[in-house]
């Protein structure tokens, strides 16, 4: 019997230890209640020794960054998403590229000239551009092949028509009415001439978009189905490893014609997890910084303050009100909705001022941006009055706001704005989360009343935002926005070859679009990053460009 008691007592002691452990966890957790700020500091101090001991990632020459899962193939003509572009622009190259100031620079081309009133572009190619595998030299025929391959209807490139549609004969090829593209002429091995349908100043920017990048004909013909697993490009990095949802590993291309990268490798971690914590634990060189910590980091009280930097993102969030559906067929209703969103306050309270309130549709980093464009200011009294004057006064139909809800976060932003409409206009807007593919379908079919949407830059020209999204003849205009005056301005801007005049036309169009309130711009996003001090020359750039070749790791820097 005493034995039994002994066993029981020992077990009970073991249980007590466990219980104390559990209590300890909760005691610590609730301790955070009292003084969260000092806790954060303590946490930082405690981590310092481990940081110093583990500073291993700064010793090698491999950069570890968080990456997005590519939604598309690593094939330039299939890319339509930001995530895949990030890898494709490093692996492949085109005639021209963008530098860190978003200026067009020669890549495979050595130089180019524009003649025929802006309708003919002639490119001289470098003689030292080679493919990663096999080392074959890139010639004008490769450029021609790559663009014709993009236009081949059998390849179903989603972007070729919208981004290269101005090349003479491309649409005919795309519609299978021609076997080649008449506007592409190989003059000699080092020279290619591209004829356009109408003069274009921004065509050179469109060529920085992946769809025209050069691919290896030999490889594709040999292995048409699986070549994208070992894509053979001319970019600064080669694909070494791609494990879905785990990692993408790029290694340096030593023969890169613009000067090889300084890093040996870039490893993109696709798994996610808590990025900032992994950054602090020295598993990543770059981390994302949560908005709620911004005050601490800007005030310098957070240990990560010195690593922090804000990188504007050339993108715009907006609401799309369908002008063909009641009640948004009445401009007064649209304006009333626009005027009852308190963007400043929401940015301040919800986002800790992590975003920028969008005064217009074009983000400030966009060439041609001007502060003279203004969007509707928060004015609840005027909004109420406008709604009263509208034809739907007092008998507003149900309004449904659809948003792509395929993440785990039901947007606080939308709930705050919804409440604003309810309080200021007395309208209860239904929030409808739908998964992304159904959302896109609803948008395309124009069934929606109101959408929450966003657009990010493909190339740094206003045409990419205004022309692509709102010209009524643009294949990418799914907004149902259609304004003859705006169309006229956009068309004139498209053909204008004087850049200053062109930007001015876009400014006029933009103001009209914003005034119509069918598009209500809300915010321009900002990326809040932390970067290890040992990472040198990490470009601060607002859109996707080949950037990893500039970066180096200095093990001595603290």
């Amino acid at each position: 019997m005493s034995n039994k008691m002994l066993t029981l007592m020992m077990g009970f002691v073991a249980f007590l230890i466990l219980a104390v452990g559990v209590v300890f966890v909760f005691a610590l957790a609730s301790g955070g209640d009292d003084d969260a700020a000092s806790d954060t500091e303590n946490g930082g101090q405690e981590k310092k020794p481990s940081n110093a001991a583990a500073g291993k990632i700064c010793e090698g020459n491999i950069l570890y960054v968080p990456g997005g899962e590519p939604n598309s193939l690593l094939d330039p003509i299939q890319v339509g998403d930001v995530e895949t572009s990030e890898y494709v622009v490093e692996i492949f190259g085109g005639l021209v590229t963008l530098d860190t100031d978003l200026k067009v620079q020669p890549d495979i081309a050595k130089s180019w000239e524009v003649t025929n009133g802006g309708k003919t572009y002639t490119f001289k190619l470098r003689d030292n551009v080679v493919f990663h595998q096999g080392g074959r030299r890139v010639t004008a025929n490769d450029v021609k092949y790559s663009i014709e391959r993009a236009a081949d209807p059998a390849n179903a490139s989603p972007t070729v028509k919208a981004y290269l549609g101005n090349i003479a004969g491309l649409k005919e090829r795309f519609d299978n009415k021609a076997a080649t593209i008449s506007g592409l002429k190989v003059i000699d091995e080092q020279t290619i001439q591209i004829d356009l349908i109408e003069p274009s100043d921004y065509f050179i920017f469109e060529l920085t978009y992946p769809v025209s990048f050069v691919v290896d004909k030999d490889q594709i013909e040999k292995n048409p189905r699986n070549w994208t697993k070992q894509p053979n490009g001319t970019g600064p990095f080669k694909l070494a490893e791609f494990t879905p949802a785990e990692k993408i590993r790029l290694v340096r291309n030593d023969r890169y014609h613009l000067g090889p990268a300084k890093l040996d490798e870039v490893v993109f971690e696709l798994g996610g997890g808590s990025l900032l914590t992994r950054y602090e634990n020295d598993e990543l060189h770059v981390g994302a910084f949560p908005a709620s910590l911004l005050d601490a980091v800007k005030g310098g009280s957070n240990p990560l303050s010195k690593d922090y930097r804000a990188v504007p993102n050339m993108a715009t969030f907006y609401f799309n009100l369908n002008p063909t559906k009641a009640p948004f067929d009445d401009p007064k209703v649209r304006q009333a909705f626009a005027m009852s969103i308190d963007r400043e306050n929401i940015n301040n309270v919800l986002f800790y001022n992590a975003l920028r309130v969008a005064d217009g549709f074009l983000p400030p980093e966009m060439p041609g941006y001007t502060e003279s464009v203004t969007s509707y200011k928060y004015d609840p009294a005027k909004a109420k009055q406008l709604l009263q004057e509208s034809k739907y006064a007092g008998r507003l139909p149900r309004v449904v706001l659809s948003y792509s809800g395929s993440g785990g976060t039901p947007g606080d932003l939308l709930v705050a704005i919804q409440k604003g409409w309810e309080d200021n206009l007395g309208v209860t807007v239904e929030l409808q989360a739908i998964d992304s593919s159904a959302f896109l379908r609803e948008q395309r079919q124009g069934k929606f009343q109101m959408l929450s949407d966003g657009w990010s830059a493909d190339y740094p020209d206003p045409e990419n935002f205004l022309g692509k999204l709102f010209a009524s003849d643009s294949p990418l205009n799914y907004s149902k926005y259609n304004n003859a005056e705006v169309d006229k301005l956009l068309q004139a801007a498209r053909r204008e070859t004087d850049r200053t005049k062109r930007y001015d036309l876009y400014r006029q169009a933009e103001q009209k679009i914003v005034d119509d309130a069918s598009i209500i711009p809300t915010y321009w996003p900002v990326d809040h990053q932390v970067i290890k001090p040992c990472v040198k020359d990490y470009p601060s750039v607002s859109m996707t460009i080949p950037k990893y070749r500039y970066i180096s790791i200095d093990p001595k820097a603290k």
Partner: protein, 317 residues
């Protein structure tokens, strides 16, 4: 016994076939009839009807659903699980097989820990029956069962990674110290269930005649416990393995998501949201098949080691 066993096995497996068939039909139709398909997701904002038609033709989505289903089943019979539309360079099996391997290893570790903790806790509770220690022990483990993984994860991440800084969080392969937290979070909720059944099992063995005889012979309590009870009470625990599987897979979905582990939990969530038709179907069929098989095998093993048990009687799902 053997012919009965064989017949039983065959009957169980035969029943699984129509049910799996019905499930595959339902899931297949459900996915196809939902608004929005993988082609919408692939083309996204750049959607043009021409390309969409080419892609739909390529993937076969342009055909009537029953034809698609027959084709799918045809391919499945040849071991072809189809293609992934979310990871466009990969076939469905290329996507899921490595992830199944990752999740299997983690799940297996979790299972071992669940049993390694649950069995002694159960024996202890049984020994302590009649005292307040018995309900207290079981209850405290039930408390862990009540905390959902997505509440547990931020708590332990904060404590062990941020506050104490003793473990890392990134995925660095299954066999690294970074897996300690995820595996523990997967295994601890199941301990209560195992302990409860172990306790019941030990108590019923304790009441058996031969234990009373052993005790009457003056054998030490510990000897009795270790030799007889452990051996006779452990047997029924085999059946519980099947019972623990659903809990571990459900937990894996959140744990893998929040720790960034490339396993089937993370993949199934992403596949459903994408949507990625063939991968969803492959995961559902694989999961179902695994569970059915696991339970059949467990039943058979159990009836072989303990012929007294009527087949199909003492089993969970």
């Amino acid at each position: 016994m053997a012919p009965g066993l064989l017949g039983y096995t065959i009957r169980r497996l035969l029943w699984a076939i129509p049910v799996l068939f019905v499930i595959s039909v339902i899931v297949f139709y459900m996915l196809r009839l939902a608004p929005g398909d993988p082609v919408d997701a692939i083309l996204a904002k750049n959607y043009q009807e021409e390309q969409a038609q080419i892609l739909r033709k390529k993937y076969g989505y342009d055909q009537p659903v029953h034809i698609q289903y027959i084709k799918y089943m045809n391919n499945l019979a040849r071991g072809d699980l189809g293609i992934s539309t979310r990871h466009r360079d990969f076939t469905a099996s290329e996507v899921i097989l490595p992830k199944i391997w990752v999740s299997t290893q983690i799940g297996f570790m979790a299972l071992i820990i669940t049993f390694a903790l649950g069995i002694p806790v159960g024996v202890y509770a049984a020994m302590a029956r009649g005292t307040f220690l018995d309900p207290l022990t079981i209850s405290s483990w039930l408390a862990l069962d009540a905390i959902p993984a997505f509440v547990m994860v931020p708590l332990v991440q904060w404590l062990f990674a941020l506050k104490l800084g003793i473990v890392g969080l990134g995925y660095q392969g299954v066999w690294s110290s970074h897996m300690i937290l995820p595996v523990l979070i997967l295994s601890l909720p199941g301990v209560a269930g195992v302990a409860r059944l172990m306790r019941a099992s030990v108590i019923s063995v304790l009441n058996e005649d031969y234990i009373r005889t052993a005790r009457a012979k003056g054998l030490k309590e510990q000897t009795v416990v270790i030799t007889h009870i452990t051996r006779n009470a452990l047997l029924p625990m085999i059946t519980v393995i099947g019972l623990s599987l659903p809990g571990i897979t459900a937990g894996a979905l959140f744990v893998e998501q929040l720790f960034g582990i490339p396993g089937i939990g993370q993949e199934s969530l992403a596949a459903v949201l994408a949507p990625d038709f063939d991968v969803i179907l492959a995961l559902v069929l694989f999961g179902s098949f695994l569970f059915v098989m696991a339970n059949v095998v467990i039943d058979i093993v159990y009836s072989v080691v303990d012929p007294r048990i009527r087949l199909g009687a003492a089993r969970g799902s």
